[in-house]
């Protein structure tokens, strides 16, 4: 649960970290296509982490049954 909360906080803090100069220049280059990539990455990472959490629950259930 604690890990999960830290993860949510990190997600909400992304725009503040993105203000660092180098990342900022990269994200503004090439018609800001990297913003789209960032958005896709956020979605992908979040969904994968969520699925991993579900998998852990299945693991627990399996241990209980055997």
């Amino acid at each position: 649960m604690k890990k999960y909360l830290i993860y949510i906080l990190n997600l909400l803090l992304i725009p503040f970290f993105a203000n660092a100069q180098g990342v900022d220049n990269l994200l503004r280059s090439n018609g800001r296509i990297y913003v789209v990539i960032g958005v896709i990455l956020i979605i992908f990472i979040s969904i994968i982490l969520y699925l991993i959490r579900i998998e852990r629950k299945i693991d627990k259930l399996e241990k209980q049954n055997h």
Binding site: L11, I14, R32, I33, V35, V39, I42, Y50, L51
Partner: protein, 219 residues
């Protein structure tokens, strides 16, 4: 059967949003707006199951409602995070202090969605605070209906009354025919359907796990 059907179609359609289209950050339309479409669908499913619980009093519907809502929250959070990133590179201007991140973050649409998400967080806290299963199911079903009643005013009606930078002031954002051209719409609708099926699939996975876990309580 229905669950498997969802799994197959969801798994196949998820690839569709990756198709490249014209525009640069406008491509986010398929991803960012898709997240909100999923969230609204899942919350609608959740409230339907809550009403079913209240009429049938079967704990199975409570499990449905709870898991639809928790998956909906996930997509709401992703939608918020992606929106924050997108907004930081479109609305906020580093050279003009009046359009800095902290000023554009006061947009009514953002505050409205934050309120809606917090209302749903309260739903989970309420659930956790009641140890008795039947009482928890009953109270959270009623709360869920009220939360759903607040969802659309906070994310759609109030932001449209106030001046906002967020598009979609005079109608449904991304669904009207004026601001999305026909090629994009070809990608957009399958993308929304694909994301929605993915969301429903994840929710059904959680539901199945919880149905197994609570086997002894279900009639």
């Amino acid at each position: 059967m229905v669950l498997l059907f969802y799994t197959i179609i969801g798994g196949l359609l998820v690839k569709i949003p990756n198709l490249p289209v014209l525009g640069e950050t406008i491509r986010n339309l398929f991803f960012h707006v898709g997240m909100w479409a999923v969230m609204m669908t899942l919350f609608t499913c959740s409230v339907v199951q809550s009403i079913r619980y209240l009429s049938k009093m079967n704990i199975r519907y409570d499990i449905y409602a709870h898991n639809y809502a928790s998956t909906g929250i996930l997509f709401g959070l992703i939608g918020y995070a992606t929106g924050a990133l997108w907004m930081n590179y479109t609305w906020a201007d580093p050279n003009a202090p009046s359009y800095s991140f902290s000023t554009v973050a006061r947009d009514p649409k953002l505050i409205g969605t934050a309120i809606a998400l917090l209302i749903y967080f309260a739903y989970f806290i309420l659930r956790q605070s009641i140890p008795d299963i039947d009482k928890r199911a009953k109270i959270s079903a009623v709360y869920n209906i009220f939360a759903f009643a607040m969802l659309f005013p906070t994310i759609m009606i109030i932001p449209r009354i106030l001046p906002s930078l967020h598009p979609g002031q005079e109608g449904n954002p991304a669904l009207n025919f004026k601001d999305v051209d026909s090629t994009m719409r070809l990608i957009e609708y399958p993308a929304f359907v694909g994301w929605t099926l993915l969301g429903v699939w994840i929710a059904t996975l959680k539901i199945r796990i919880n149905l197994i876990k609570e086997k002894h309580f279900i009639k």
